[in-house]
Symmetry: C2
Subunit: 248 residues, 2 copies
């Protein structure tokens, strides 16, 4: 079933109008019509099965949907914030799609010493569109929130002190070996991903001083498009209940 | 340091010639010259630091490298075979790159009932090039082996019975809940990834009957480009020694 973004949708709605861009996508691209069933997502956990009730077949900009049933999806556990040094624009789209599919709660662009991109407001607006597209494709009713970019030191100071950072695997790595998170910290966590080549030495020291744990997967150098899904998945898996039971 | 593929390289070599395509890449694209240091990988675990000793500056097809030091990297543990229903060609390249970076030992294209691609020999040759490119970028000296495509039932019959398959997360999923692998099975394992929309019901039954375990990460639908790095990373992490210690 095709999913659409409906910011109007609440748990008690009987009917919604699709936003004009969603309406055009439904009618012009997907060629849906009256009677077709769709999934609606409001981005904050509410989802609904609905049926197209009235459509504007000329301008395609108006679609009225009758709600068949709505529910509130529980917020995914753990609540993961992805702190990321934005890579080049082609790669950040892949990263945002992936983080949305895997259910990150928030994405924070972090300006690191060796970072290559400094996103402006237009870029952030584009990322929001990428989040919506990925959430619709993956049926994720909780859209990750994209925060304003900020400098590494400021973000770290304000951040929670539980979580992980992606470390470059090195044979002579002096970092302490990774360990599972304590059980009571697993409902809220974070993942920090540095720029290509890794964090600067003073950034690494600050992450460790904050109490964040280095995390690697495999033995080789990962591109950011691989590091984000791989490390997010490991953090999710380590915090899942069956892993907790194993650890207890 | 830039890495190059050298099938000639052995642990005791003093000198190698780069293959012509690698030589052209070094001299024409990267504009390396005599005295520049490079990393050589033979694809079977041997890697060497070398220095460009003599180059053909006219045709760029000959580069002689003097070996400074060579070593044999231990084969990564666990030995993971990725069984995959090949997606569309644009996506399979992303999957092969990712599996190479994360250190999969072998990639087996599996022809499933709902699969969309049937790779021919040209396609397999192209995948081999993708493996080499990704291995060089990630400095992985163990290139994953790409096997010939075969039908689901034949591959499953010949396959090892330890491992996981990517399951589509469903609220009403009747699959048994995932559990950590027994400790003594963690040196050799497998990951099966089905086509878009998941395995056919009879394929799912066969995977379960073989003893393979369903694995999901997050709660939403993953594209294959996300599912492969996410699930490979979870399998790697669950089989890492520190996870074994946690489980014991």
């Amino acid at each position: 079933m095709h999913a659409f973004y409906s910011p109007q949708l609440t748990i008690s709605c009987r009917e919604v109008q699709l936003p004009a861009s969603e309406s055009r996508h439904a009618l012009q691209v997907l060629r849906l019509g009256v009677g077709d069933r769709i999934l609606l997502l409001n981005g904050h956990g509410i989802r609904a099965e609905a049926v197209l009730d009235a459509v504007d077949n000329r301008r395609h900009s108006t679609t009225t949907c009758r709600i068949l049933q709505a529910d509130a999806a529980p917020q995914p556990q753990p609540h993961i914030t992805l702190f990321i040094a934005p890579p080049k624009s082609k790669n950040i789209d892949a990263v945002i799609r992936t983080a949305t599919e895997l259910g990150a709660a928030a994405i924070v662009p972090v300006l690191c010493r060796f970072g290559v991109a400094k996103p402006d407001l237009d870029t952030i607006a584009h990322w929001t569109k990428t989040v919506i597209a990925a959430a619709k494709q993956s049926h994720n009713p909780w859209f990750p929130e994209i925060k304003a970019p900020a400098a590494f030191a400021d973000v770290l100071e304000a951040a929670d002190d539980h979580g992980f950072f992606g470390a470059v695997p090195e044979p002579a790595d002096a970092l302490p070996s990774p360990a599972a998170l304590p059980v009571d910290d697993q409902r809220q966590t974070s993942l920090w991903i540095g720029p290509e080549g890794g964090f600067a030495p003073e950034e690494l020291s600050a992450l460790l001083a904050k109490g964040l744990q280095p995390l690697t997967v495999g033995q080789w150098i990962l591109r950011v498009e691989t590091a984000v899904p791989a490390l997010l998945a490991v953090v999710l898996d380590r915090c899942q209940p069956h892993q907790r039971e194993t650890a207890e």
